[in-house]
């Protein structure tokens, strides 16, 4: 198991504070993404828990691109991974943030 946290500073911030949302399922080659409101409001904090060790560079590239696509601050994202490919991780992150934004506070 590898665990690490990455913080990204962004300019956009959420106007509302939606309820937490979880997206995806922890199963082989897949992952779950939990999105919650968090502090500070200019930061997107991402916690990763993954069983595959030694892929931190790839994770940071995937997450960096995600934050570039979806620059949302005041958000805390936690990932429980079970060996998902970068493609699946990106797709799930996009879905999760979409769901989260559409959620009422």
């Amino acid at each position: 198991m590898e665990q690490f946290v990455m913080n990204f500073t962004v300019t956009n911030r959420l106007a509302t504070t939606p309820s937490p949302r979880v997206c995806g399922v922890v199963s082989s080659g897949n992952l779950e993404v939990l999105v919650e409101s968090g502090e500070p409001e200019d930061t997107c904090r991402i916690d990763v828990h993954t069983p595959a060790e030694g892929f931190r560079d790839i994770w940071s590239a995937v997450l960096r691109d995600f934050v570039e696509r979806q620059p949302v601050g005041g958000v805390r994202i936690t990932i429980n991974d079970a060996g998902a490919t970068p493609a699946v991780v990106s797709l799930r992150l996009d879905q999760a943030i979409d769901f989260f934004r559409s959620e009422k506070p």
């Binding site: 937490p20 979880v22 922890v26 936690t78 429980n80």
Partner: protein, 299 residues
């Protein structure tokens, strides 16, 4: 594009709840953001889930208040560990306080989670007692079965303790999985790769024909919802009578008759035959409605 029904089989546990109950009516107890993960999986370096593979909560279905649990079959085969089991048990404890029209268990589980096998086994035993206690208090418990893991191991026993069992033809109920039987007893005893046979032994149709399931529905969450709503209507306002000695004596006699009648049976074909089906090869492909009609029309 035409709107397709949402498959129960491949939907996630969350989607099942969302599509089964009245819109926006679900409140989750112990939700993922509380992060009650399994410390035992962590210790074994295995992936964890924030809900430990089961969500529990309160909702309405066709207006009826229900308590509901949904197991995620894709997470560790829906297997029951300490936290997972405690959530289920807690839900049944809550039923005594809230007195819903029914407790719905969306079962999708291979049974005990091996990573925490002792805790899982005990949890299932506690769940069994809790279900019996809930029923004694007049509250029915429904099992809904149609996921990829079916209802096996301890969850197979739990399902058969339920008041009503709604199953799809993709659903399965059993005790030991075919792979386990094949591994221990050999391929001649049970060829687990012969999926058609597997379903003739444990699948929804054969379980319905035997009476182990009270409703057979199509693989569509809407169909599960309709069947559940109908059964909730039936139970609403009429507390369950707890089983007495006569009920169990009658049940005992039925099970004895079944064991005698099928004392050498090793294939569900004989059960379809006894249930009055004539074209045995086509039972598997028979649409659910036709199957139900033929079954209920038979003596």
């Amino acid at each position: 594009m035409n709107v397709k029904p949402i498959n129960y089989f491949e939907a996630s546990a969350r989607t099942r709840i969302a599509c089964l109950v009245d819109p926006e009516s679900f409140t989750e107890f112990c939700p993922p953001e509380l992060r009650h993960i399994s410390p035992h999986l962590v210790r074994l370096n295995a992936p964890v889930a924030f809900d430990d593979g089961v969500m529990v909560g309160r909702a309405r279905l066709a207006g009826h208040p229900v308590l509901i649990a949904s197991q995620e079959g894709k997470f560790n085969g829906g297997a029951v560990g300490e936290v997972h089991g405690a959530k289920l048990r807690g839900l049944l404890d809550k039923a005594l306080i809230e007195r819903p029209v029914a407790v719905l268990l969306l079962v999708d589980s291979g049974g005990v989670r091996l990573h925490e096998a002792n805790a899982g086994l005990i949890a299932i035993s506690e769940l069994m007692r809790a279900i019996l206690r809930t029923q004694s208090a007049g509250i029915p418990v429904f099992a809904l079965i149609g996921g990829s893991c079916g209802a096996f191991g301890g969850m197979g026993i739990v399902s058969r303790l339920c008041t009503e069992v709604i199953i799809s033809e993709q659903g399965r109920i059993g005790l030991s999985g075919p792979e386990v039987i094949e591994t221990v007893k050999g391929v001649d005893e049970f060829d687990s790769r012969d999926r058609a046979l597997v379903w003739r032994i444990t699948g929804g149709k054969v379980r319905r024909a035997l009476g182990d399931a009270t409703r057979l529905v199509g693989d569509d969450i809407g169909a599960f919802r309709a069947a559940t709503a109908e059964l909730l209507d039936k139970h609403a306002g009429r507390p369950l009578n707890s089983s007495d000695l006569d009920d169990l004596t009658a049940a005992h006699s039925n099970l004895s008759i079944r064991a005698q009648r099928y004392d050498t049976a090793r294939d569900g074909r004989i059960i379809f035959q006894e249930a009055g089906f004539t074209e045995l090869e086509s039972v598997a492909l028979l649409p659910v409605d036709d199957f139900n009609r033929q079954l209920e029309g038979s003596p």
